[in-house]
């Protein structure tokens, strides 16, 4: 039997919705792929056609949340007066969306999201690209830089993922330490960017 693209998308959606609920109710570790398949009304084997692992499900949920956050916070990021604040807006909005997944993020951070991960999966690539595109656009706008070096972006990604890792394990009240860390990291990063762009400018005039 051929499964239409529409049915496929629908099944995928059901799996994600069910998984999100089960993770919230029983936790990531206690929820098995079998539980998810049963609750979604599909065979275990079918589930694997969509998501090979539980981590893949989390990754997909995270990717969606991240995309929503970027779409919803774009206006406020554009309105921010400084680059530091604009970047903070995007990161803070992402944290809000990722909040239900916070404690499960560790599973992703150690593997696919790690800055040294090789051969990223599609979902990671999408999550990463979309986030970095938003950030690059802000940098370009505020520093009027024509292109951001891949090194600078890689450095940002390391800081960002590091902040997420910190957040996943943050035991401070209401994870307030994470906000301080992000704020501080962004200030440090932007200061470095400014310094670098100043140092490069004279050369570009030659």
């Amino acid at each position: 039997m051929r499964v239409s693209a529409e049915t496929k998308a629908e099944t995928r959606r059901t799996i994600l919705t069910v998984a999100r609920r089960l993770f919230a109710e029983h936790g990531f570790d206690a929820t098995t792929t079998r539980h998810i398949a049963v609750a979604a009304g599909i065979a275990n084997g079918t589930l694997f056609n969509y998501f090979p692992t539980k981590e893949a499900i989390i990754l997909c949920l995270a990717s969606e949340a991240s995309a929503e956050a970027i779409a919803e916070s774009r206006g406020r990021a554009d309105a921010a007066t400084t680059l530091e604040e604009a970047m903070f807006v995007i990161v803070a909005a992402t944290l809000r969306k990722l909040k239900p997944l916070r404690t499960y993020l560790t599973a992703l951070l150690e593997t696919v999201l790690s800055p040294i991960a090789v051969a990223p999966q599609d979902e990671v690539a999408a999550l990463r690209t979309e986030h970095l595109e938003a950030i690059s656009a802000l940098i370009a706008k505020h520093l009027s830089a024509s292109a951001i070096s891949p090194v600078a972006l890689q450095l940002y990604w390391a800081l960002y993922v590091g902040s997420l890792a910190f957040w996943a394990g943050d035991e401070s009240p209401k994870q307030e330490d994470t906000f301080a860390l992000i704020d501080d990291s962004l200030n440090m990063y932007v200061a470095w960017l400014r310094q670098t762009s100043r140092a490069e400018r004279p050369q570009s005039h030659l």
Binding site: A92, S172, E176, F179, A180
Partner: protein, 477 residues
Amino acid sequence: MPTVAQLIAALPDHEDIAASPSAALTKRLDAASFRRVPIGRLHRMGLLGTLQAKVAAAYLFYWVRGWFRNADEKERLRAEAHWRTAARVLDSMNYLRGAAMKVGQMLANFPDIVPTQFVETLEQLHFAAPPMHWSLMREMVSNELGDDPEHAFATFETRAFAAASLGQVHRATLKGGVPVVVKVQYPGIARTIGEDVRNLLLFMLPARLNADWENTREQFEDLRDRLEHETDYEREATTLQKARSLFREGDGIVVPRVYPERTTRRVLTMERLDGAHIDQFLATNPPQELRDEFARKIIRASYRLLYAGRVLYVDCHPGNFTFMEDGRLGILDFGCMVELDDKLWDLFRKMDRPMTTGRREDRIAVMKEWSWIGDDPTEDERRRLTDEFADWQWSPRYCGHVFDFGDEADFRRGTNLFMEMARKRFSRARPSTPMMARQHFGMRAMLYRLKAKVDVATIADEEVRNAGWDRRAYTQT
């Protein structure tokens, strides 16, 4: 108080930390380090922040150096080396922004002792543009109140109008239309305080020179407790509510109402009291009678809190008082209060006698108990200075006439005495002594600037009578 030149001379130097004798200790501290959360707000404050931090570090260094004056040269140098390191640690402390501001506020209270432009700079620090950008603020409020500021309040100004110690203050309006101010704390700062002070004490361990060490440690721990208390806005809210209940309409003294449903440990929402800051008030050239009226209210407020509330209002700096147009005095900040335990309360009870009679023997008797001074002839100098200082502190109360707080010579006498005591290392006293000195100087400085003439005894008698103490042995009535 130190002069600017002395402050600069006392600035921690910039020698490589590895060259200092405490390098090993630094390493050990690093190794045993708690999870450090980098909160380098000082950097974002740019020059201003650095200046504040340096002044604070230098001031503390200068202050503490006095304690080791009588030690032998080698020990003193060793102690100083440690203090330099400690000052550097202090300089890197996350919450120093708050502590520095406190020092700034303290210095700003002495207009004739530090040069004018210095005071002006420091004055501005009370209301300096704060470093938390709006998006971070929004996250903090949302994180604490469970709702974004634009939903939790009818209006919320995105620009802070004042910097609070360890946080910043925004104007807002409640949904019902009540104008309020919302104080929001920097994330993560509160918990680092205890850890930082613990580190500072570790640095000080080799400086344990004499019997005063225990006392020094106690005073530092007291400072830490106070700073920790200041970061708990729920605690401050309780204090505000308690203080508010002590005043009646006829007093003309008002403490802002707290809105508990919009208050957490990190966010404090209270009624907005619009009025003039002391500088703005004085700029209008107010007549003597009006200045005296506000001065009486300041004195009454502090006595009411003491005798009816059993607390000392320590934060007596100009930024915490507002001179309202209808003549009322608004008291704004209750983060730094000293609650008197039974022992201190009993001492205050005993202090009422010398404060009332003005007799030297009464003063000596109480001061000996307060500062543990013995009858030994070696303590003569200490006894003399302590007595003179107490006389300066209390004479407005027992002088028998209207006291002129604007008398510059008298004001200088007090600050000189205090500096001499600090220089001679006569700082051994109960842990709350520095706080009390701060309270008294803060108040005297405000009254001095108001050039107020007040009959203090009348106010004191009214307020003390309410404490219900048996004063028959030393009063006429």
